[in-house]
Amino acid sequence: MSFINYSSREINCKIVYYGPGLCGKTTNLQFIFKRTNPNQKGKLISLATETERTLFFDFLPLALGDIKGFKVRFHLYTVPGQVFYAASRKLILKGVDGVVFVSDSQIERMEANIESLEDLKINLAEQGYDLDRLPFIIQHNKRDLPNVAPISEMNNILNTNGVPWFEAIATQGTGVFETLKNIGKQVLIELKKSY
């Protein structure tokens, strides 16, 4: 549900980073924030607890450039991963144009990944969306850690529909912009289709 303003010639799209607690969603946004020109970005807003866990959401507005004379803005959001923030996760999915599912590659987090992906599907369905029909990609994060599941297993379990996927080490920025580019493109292609 993008917002197109013919008067100010702007188009705004909403992209949500979803995934279990501590998988690296906030780290993705922090890296994007660090590496974009000041004139392309707004403030990175984090509504976090004292221990820096995301409480409500992180928000980063990005203005990457123009298409056909329209300024294209991406609004990036993360959701809080912890189970007890289910209500706020639902709210953030409102009006979403594209979803990045960030998985935690550590073997012991596989269960949490599966649960979070289920939760995503349910919450989207409640808002009237179908994950199969939404721009959607998966980022397998924390590939630098020693105890990670093989990438083939990650995809077998989490990516049953074969959507685009990326390996990432968000703390070092590996795969972060690749992920953003891919979802951004998908959102714009979808927009082109629907108008």
Binding site: F3, I4, S7, K68, L91
Partner: protein
């Protein structure tokens, strides 16, 4: 309807912009602005240059979403008016046509009573404008007459954006 894309053309924007300016003056406010429920700024009026309106818009929508969650827990449909009081500045927030949020920031030069009175009038006018806008967008989509520049987006355009 509520989930439809929002498409705003020049004349609609001018009407909305005009209403916001008028409200700002008549309510003696510092700033008035409109936000989509998804957190995207639609228009603003008044003294906005010292303020990060993009962030303000996102947080306002988050605020409305959270309060909406509380409302549902209590069995209310939504709280259609919110009010925050600060030491100097106050914020009055209300929902229009179920999908846009009207925000007024004001200080001691105005009062809650005055703001409420003016908001009521403006709300009625804005509701009309937005309902027309949503209806028009639906009709155009159905008829396929919508000549959008986005139909012409090429892969190259998209690639260029992400260089």
């Amino acid at each position: 309807m509520i989930n439809a894309d929002l498409v705003m053309y020049e004349d609609e924007f001018e009407k909305i912009d005009g209403e916001l300016k008028k409200l700002c003056q008549q309510a003696n406010a510092k700033i008035t602005f409109l936000v989509d429920k998804n957190g995207q700024l639609i228009a603003s009026a008044g003294d906005t240059h010292d303020i990060d309106t993009t962030a303000l818009a996102s947080l306002t929508a988050g605020n409305i979403a959270a309060t909406g969650g509380i409302a549902r827990l209590l069995g209310e449909k939504e709280f259609s008016i919110l009010f925050h009081e600060g030491e100097k500045d106050n914020i009055h927030i209300s929902i229009i046509a179920q999908r846009v949020i009207l925000v007024i920031i004001y200080d001691q030069r105005s009062s809650l009573g005055l703001v409420r009175l003016r908001v009521k009038k403006t709300s009625e006018i804005l509701t009309g404008i937005f309902e027309d806008m949503i209806r028009k967008a639906e009709e155009e989509k159905d008829s396929g007459l919508n000549e959008s520049p986005f139909a012409e987006i090429s892969d190259e355009d998209i690639d260029n954006l992400f260089r």
